[in-house]
Amino acid sequence: MFRGKKGLIVLLLVVVLILANILTPFKVRQIVIHLAPETILYLGGFKVTNTLLASWLAIVILTLLAILTSRKLVDVPKALSLQNVVETVIEALYTFMQGIVGSKARVFFPVVGTFFLYILVSNWLGLFPGFGSVGFWEEQAGQRVFVPLLKSSTADLNTTIALATCAVISLQAYGIRFYGLVGYGSRFLAIGRFVQFFRASAHGEKPSLSLLFRGFLDLFIGLMELFEDLTKVLSFSFRLFGNVFGAEVLLVVIAFLVPYAISIPFMALEIFGGFIQAFIFAVLTTAFLGAVTGHHTSTETGRAESAPSAASEQATTPP
């Protein structure tokens, strides 16, 4: 790949860059890591942080890619055309989703695909040269502090919590779409058995206590489901944030420990890790969507089954 003159030029460039790095007066002498993003400018009363700027950049890149790809679509794209590459990525994700949720993949794909592409682009953008290294010095509390202009947007807890909230809200939206408000609401507030119990007692029949007990159990399970969805926000956001932020800290520490050479395999590791994190977010969202829209039918049939079983219980009790 790099033979002859080309290789010489690349080698020269690398040596010049390393020399410039060693001799530069603008050297960063100690590691400074901030958990929170830094504010770079104010728009009115609105703080624009460096992670917000990076997320805008990711949005612009994805939008441009979408426009460029869909401008003129052909049936048989050329081997290395943009359309072919994008179609390959989309198709791979789509067939993978089909493996998890089957024919419902078509309904879920817009949400899950958006999560996947946005997180993937954000993670990989954070590895670009210039992210975290281009910035300006600022006086903060009498100290000179380096403020990077761009920082990977998924390395900010605000972004990941927003993404996780969107994922959990889309779970509820799809649940309501598939089962209606009342049908889906019975996931959190299952009063079907209570209604049966009181209807039986209103008809003058001897109500079974096990039905009442199972009614209380249903209420408790509904409460657990509610907590489960709330903790999903936490686990989604902390997983993504922790992984991406941990990767950034690792890269910075390695870059200061052994400069230039040892960073390269870790960079490769983080390219893979960024993909895996985006993939896991997409797969988990898909799996939860499948669970929310799929197994819910079992409670419906369970209710239909419980009516005859209650009747048989009454039949067995002596009059």
């Binding site: 890591i33 901030h34 686990s235 944030f241 992984n243 932020f245 941990g246 797969v283 799996a287």
Partner: protein, 74 residues
Amino acid sequence: MQISRDLVAGLTIAIGAIAPALSIGRFVAAAMEALGRNPEAERGISTNLIVALAFTEAIAIYALVVALAIKFVG
């Protein structure tokens, strides 16, 4: 003060990583065994494995986030 903070941060991630590491090992061992017994089911096994690993890994990540918060915040 700084030394004790560093110590606590290091202990947080060190202790917090033990249980997820053990459970990830068990998950992967079980998945490999299942793959060896039934290679056709690779798709389902690997999907479930990745999802289960993500859940397990999340616990280690919580410890990491807490450790980073102890180290760098405040």
